[in-house]
């Protein structure tokens, strides 16, 4: 009842709903409408063409691997940034957000140049027989780049708020350092790690700008699903593009739900462990 004092409920909510409806919900409804027009059999046929399957495999598999790498790298970088003091720490901390701030097209051409056979890193990897640019491996590298900040940023606040006395208790009871880490610290970090993993995965699955430059876009080999959508649009195959779009959209929704469920489950798990 106290809230009654404050004005503007109707107008602010009404405006927000109308804006959201026009900008986001109506267009997404158009997507669902267009996709529903093509029928289940045709959709399955479209999804089971070898080229689409190959793209789905790279988009999903590459994103999954990239998110796993980002969990490991994010844990390392987050840990070092929160726990240790060294010169340049603040600078590196600020730099973690670079993949959020750098436009994806810029990241794409920079990574391609870097990993091309005559590039700084590519020239060094080529003699070992590792080619990154213009291969599926290149798509994976770009996916690691764009997803990197998520794990670090979800991990940092949790890591900073961990009570040191739990670790000290473990150590004074005779636990070795690795035992303390794996049995005491890691279970408490499971929720942010899982959230960061899912966010990095969702970002990498849908990523377009950085991947298309470095992947080389060879059909059946290094094409991603968003690229197939763009190609279908360029051929004015709206229904085909919408069908692939809806599949991607459902995938994103599934990931969002998974994040919510994982967080709930791991919170309960962490409470039991603690």
């Amino acid at each position: 009842m106290r809230r009654r004092v404050l004005p503007g409920f109707g107008i602010s909510l009404g405006y927000a709903l109308a804006y959201l409806g026009l900008i986001v919900l109506l267009p997404l409804a158009a997507l669902a409408w267009k996709a529903s027009g093509i029928g289940v059999r045709e959709l399955l046929h479209l999804l089971s063409t070898p080229r689409t399957l190959a793209a789905l495999r790279l988009s999903l598999g590459g994103a999954l691997l990239a998110a796993l790498v980002n969990v490991a790298a994010g844990l390392l970088v987050g840990w070092v940034l929160v726990r240790y003091r060294f010169p340049g720490r603040r600078l590196f901390d600020a730099l973690v957000d670079l993949p959020f701030a750098l436009p994806t097209a810029v990241a794409g051409i920079a990574l391609t140049t870097l990993y091309a056979p005559n590039g700084w890193l590519g020239g060094w990897l080529a003699p070992m027989g590792i080619q990154v640019a213009y291969t599926p491996l290149g798509a994976f590298v770009a996916m690691v780049f764009v997803g990197f900040p998520f794990v670090v940023r979800t991990l940092q606040p949790v890591l900073a708020s961990l009570e040191r006395d739990v670790e000290e208790a473990a150590e004074s009871l005779g636990a070795r350092r690795w035992q303390t880490f794996f049995r005491v610290i890691l279970p408490m970090l499971a929720p942010p790690l899982l959230t960061g993993f899912a966010l990095a995965l969702a970002r990498a699955v849908g990523e377009y700008g950085s991947v298309i430059f470095i992947a080389g876009n060879i059909p059946m080999r290094s094409e991603i699903v968003p690229l197939l959508i763009v190609q279908k649009l360029e051929q004015f195959d709206y229904a085909g593009a919408a069908a692939l779009g809806v599949v991607m959209l459902l995938l994103s929704f599934a990931l969002l739900v998974a994040v919510a469920l994982l967080q709930r489950w791991s919170r309960r798990w962490a409470e039991h462990a603690a």
């Binding site: 809230r3 158009a30 701030a101 040191r164 430059f213 968003p226 763009v230 709206y238």
Partner: protein, 286 residues
């Protein structure tokens, strides 16, 4: 604490482990973040300063810069108004479906940028819902500036709202209620109490929103049609030059975008450093 167990006979000295971890983290950051960033500037100046300057002064580059600024100048304020309205409704009132509304606001972050462009093509494209009607009335949205603006608004819609909602929730409404009880009108309360309280959070949201609006590639790429001088924003100009093997030109425009990214990171860090307690750190915006 560490004095009690200086080092176990079989364990590595603690210092060495710390140093190893720090070095490993720095190597990863150098390889994955610093090197790509350095590449942008090295490639832009590969042939010296004057080719760099010349390629930025070309008419296509200048029109791309103008278009990028135009799109951001339209998209960012619209999303600021939306963000403030949504945050006011969600942080100050209770209503059914609030959680669902929050999920819908986050939606643009979780869909592929390509889909953000695709949905507008399906609405306004030649074979879209409103395509024939628009065509008959001579209105062009897809492959024209309005499409670029719409796709950019879609992509950047959550930034301001997501920063303001948790911030205003944590601040509570006592000061605003006091202003009202003391006789302030709604707008007086908003401009004298609410806005000063959220200004740094608002600036933070605007900063991230603007960076994304100017740098967005996937969504605008779908609706642009790549008409040089008319519908190519800076990221699209980077792509076109790169595909034409004009590497210095591509990296020259890219270097401007990279500078914008560095500037954004700099101001963002400064804001977090100086006004950290007046910001709501929503983890993981794009």
């Amino acid at each position: 604490m560490s004095g009690r167990h200086p080092s176990r006979p079989w364990g590595w000295p603690r210092r060495l482990v710390h140093l190893g971890l720090i070095l490993a983290a720095l190597v990863f950051l150098m390889l994955f973040l610093v090197l790509p960033l350095a590449t942008v500037f090295v490639e832009a100046f590969r042939q010296g300063v004057s080719p760099y300057v010349a390629s930025i002064q070309q008419p296509e580059a200048l029109s791309a810069i103008r278009l990028t600024l135009l799109v951001a100048v339209i998209a960012v304020p619209l999303n600021v108004v939306f963000g403030v309205a949504a945050a006011w409704a969600m942080a100050r009132f209770d209503f059914p479906g609030k959680a669902l509304l929050g999920a819908f606001i986050d939606l643009p972050f979780s869909v592929s940028p390509v889909i953000s462009g695709l949905v507008y093509v399906l609405l306004f494209g030649a074979q879209g819902w409103f395509g024939p009607w628009l065509d008959a009335h001579g209105v062009k949205i897809i492959f024209a500036v309005p499409g670029l603006v719409l796709a950019t608004i879609f992509i950047t819609l959550p930034f301001v709202a997501r920063e303001l909602i948790p911030l205003m929730q944590s601040q509570g409404s006592e000061e605003e209620e006091a202003a009202r009880v003391l006789g302030a009108s709604g707008w007086q309360m908003f401009f004298r109490v609410t806005l000063p309280n959220i200004r740094w959070g608002l600036l933070y949201g605007v900063l991230l929103c603007n960076a994304r609006a100017m740098g967005e590639f996937g969504a605008v790429s779908v609706v642009s049609g790549h008409i040089r001088g008319l519908t190519t924003t800076m990221p699209l100009e980077v792509e076109m030059r790169y595909n034409e093997y004009d590497y210095v030109g591509a990296f020259a425009v890219a270097s401007l975008l990279a500078l914008l990214a560095l500037l954004t990171l700099g101001i963002k860090t400064l804001l977090e450093w100086r006004y950290g307690d007046e910001l709501a750190h929503a983890p993981g915006g794009h």
